[in-house]
């Protein structure tokens, strides 16, 4: 099967003028400006198969948007190569434009004072769609995204959630094979986020669309994606399936115990008490030092159990931990100390 995206050692360096400090230096820079190079993306490589839903995650300034811009053809890389649906994005931008959809959470392709239906109609013309085919696709998507009541209202009258659903419909109207979504749930409330996640998931499952999804919300990642690429300081830190990520990096578990006795005396290496209330004890376990079974047996020896739940810590904690490790690694690398285990 043909690869949807293949990035090979993509790099992007930007040159910018160094801001002068002080009035004298500012004057000097009028005729002798000083430039410095900033590395935004530093040798990113990955491969995405058709139909995959991949979260592209990283802290601000990690290089996510720059990578997406290179893959959608709107930015030339400084070095490296990429193939998106068989096209070199920055050389065959126009060809590729017909086959990809883009949703940028903070940019709109809808006309503000007009109903979204008018923008949809225009997009049909822009993407050279046959009229009847376009109308059919539009009505399918409008139904699937539950927008029938909203697309006749001027966009300015729509809520943020409705508007974002319209934006996603707009990016899917030309039936792209691959959709880049850059923070599509930014600023939305819980209900609107859930609605968008579920329609995206459904859409991808039904039509086999490949999704590359950037978000700071790990909920988006967990609800929609099956694989995650974590990027930090322009480099791929982790490229794994979500399940594998949990297995590899989640070396902790949350254990909640409900007991008949009001309190259970417990001191065991590798456990940390998160909350202790009458008849309820919440523990965080370090799986490298203690097993769940060991803790449960110990508690059962000292008290009668009513209920117990074992869960993973939120994905957000995993990501935070990974960023933290990467930061430490970078700091140590800067000091010249080799640090194993933090690289991709």
């Amino acid at each position: 099967m043909t690869t949807a995206i293949e990035a090979r050692q993509l790099c992007k360096h930007f040159t910018s003028r160094r801001r002068a400090t002080g009035l004298g230096a500012a004057f000097r820079q009028l005729w002798a400006p000083v430039y410095h190079e900033h590395v935004a993306v530093d040798g990113v490589s990955f491969r995405i198969e058709p139909g995959e839903r991949v979260a592209f995650v990283g802290p601000n300034g990690a290089g996510k948007s720059t990578t997406i811009k290179m893959l959608s053809g709107i930015l030339h890389p400084s070095s490296g190569s990429a193939s998106v649906l068989g096209h070199t994005p920055w050389r065959e931008r126009r060809e590729l434009a017909y086959r990809i959809g883009t949703v940028f959470g903070q940019r709109s392709q809808l006309w503000y004072h007009l109903p979204a239906a008018d923008s949809f109609e225009l997009l049909g013309r822009i993407y050279d769609r046959e009229r009847h085919e376009h109308r059919q696709r539009q009505s399918e998507l409008v139904e699937r995204f539950a927008l029938a009541q909203d697309i006749e209202k001027p966009v300015r009258e729509l809520s943020l959630g409705q508007r974002m659903r319209c934006e996603i419909v707009a990016s899917l109207l030309h039936d792209p094979d691959l959709v880049f979504l850059d923070e599509p749930t930014i600023g939305l409330d819980v209900t609107a986020k859930a609605a968008i996640r579920s329609v995206l998931l459904e859409q991808s499952r039904q039509d086999g669309k490949t999704l590359l999804f950037t978000s700071h919300d790990t909920g988006d990642m967990e609800s929609v994606c099956e694989r995650v690429i974590i990027i930090h300081h322009g480099r791929v830190l982790v490229d794994q399936s979500l399940a594998e990520l949990r297995r590899t990096h989640l070396r902790r578990k949350l254990l909640v115990l409900h007991t008949v006795e009001p309190a259970v005396p417990l001191t065991l290496a590798g456990t940390r008490v998160v909350a202790c209330e009458p008849h309820r004890l919440e523990l965080e376990l370090d799986l490298d030092r203690v097993a769940v079974e060991q803790v449960v047996q110990l508690v059962m020896a000292r008290a009668r159990l009513r209920d117990l739940t074992v869960s993973d810590p939120p994905m957000e904690d995993v990501i935070r931990e990974l960023y933290g490790r990467a930061r430490n690694f970078s700091a140590q690398r800067a000091l010249g100390a080799p640090t194993p285990g933090a690289g991709p």
Partner: protein
């Protein structure tokens, strides 16, 4: 699927539907953008009526000014020298046309500058329509609405202010010249907007353009009353072709002036279009290499 090659070792991914997109050439999508832009502008009623009011005030003030200066009522008998610019009625029609063209212009340069600042130019490159062509289509949609509304208002205001009807062929010819001039002027505004990529703030370039329109274009005073040396300089500039050229047609210019006006507009239009193509290429290179 195409044969694998060095550039695309995997070959283009086949479309699921098996139905390749038919890419149409032509201006259909640009007309669609212009139509939608016109509809969007019609929604902004306050802005449109504001322009109409401003147009009326300008015509009223200048009509009274020329009346006082020339000492004659617009409808009164012409003085001895009835050449262009010697009768209040002439001035009203002249000003109605020049202001009609100027007020019909959108703030396209600011729009493009805002897109450059927001990085929207880069994002627009992922769509199958040229950024500049899309912006021009949008601007011409807006211009069309304003030309119609301000044109109709101009006729009414000029008559209300006492201007006599010009020769029957003069108004359609001036209107045609005005429409062409507006389109050419929009090309120049797009180029001014793109200049923000180099000068950061395009307002300074726009102010130069606007003042040159006032002085060399004869926005308020016809070039026919300028000193000969200044008139000859102005006539070589695009500004005279854009404002004075169409406006003098309303007063019944001879056929060679009509033809000259249209030819000048076509030449300046071609020159601005070429300049815009070059600027768009440079801008695209900047955006794709240095980021939007």
């Amino acid at each position: 699927m195409s044969a694998p090659n060095m550039e695309h070792p995997l070959g283009p991914c086949p479309r699921r539907s098996g139905d390749p997109v038919r890419r149409r050439r032509g201006l259909g999508k640009h007309f669609a953008i212009a139509r939608l832009a016109a509809r969007q502008r019609l929604e902004e009623r306050a802005v449109l009526w504001g322009r109409v009011l401003f147009y009326f005030i300008i015509l009223l003030v200048f009509a009274r000014l020329w009346e006082a200066l020339l000492g004659a009522k617009p409808g009164s008998a012409p003085p001895d020298d009835a050449s262009l610019g010697q009768r209040p009625s002439h001035y009203i029609w002249y000003l109605a046309i020049t202001e009609w063209i100027m007020l019909s212009q959108p703030l396209l340069h600011l729009d493009i500058e805002a897109d450059i600042r927001a990085g929207a130019v880069g994002h627009s490159l992922s769509r199958p329509v040229s950024y500049v062509a899309g912006k021009l289509a949008e601007a011409w949609g807006e211009v069309a609405v304003r030309l119609v509304l301000l044109g109709a208002s101009g006729l009414i205001f000029a008559r209300l202010l006492g201007a006599e009807w010009p020769e029957p062929s003069a108004l359609p010819l001036a209107a045609l010249g005005g429409v062409l001039a507006s389109m050419v002027m929009t090309l120049a505004l797009a180029a001014i907007g793109l200049s923000a990529l180099w000068v950061t703030d395009s307002t300074s370039v726009y102010l130069l353009w606007q003042k040159a329109c006032f002085v060399l274009g004869g926005l308020m005073l016809p070039l026919s009353i300028y000193p000969p040396w200044l008139r000859s300089i102005a006539e070589w500039s695009p500004f005279a072709a854009l404002l004075f050229g169409p406006a003098e047609l309303v007063l019944g210019a001879p056929p060679e002036r009509v033809l000259g006006c249209m030819l000048r507009l076509a030449c300046w239009g071609a020159l601005f279009a070429l300049m815009l193509v070059g600027l768009e290429r440079r801008a695209s290179r900047i955006v794709t290499v240095h980021g939007g």
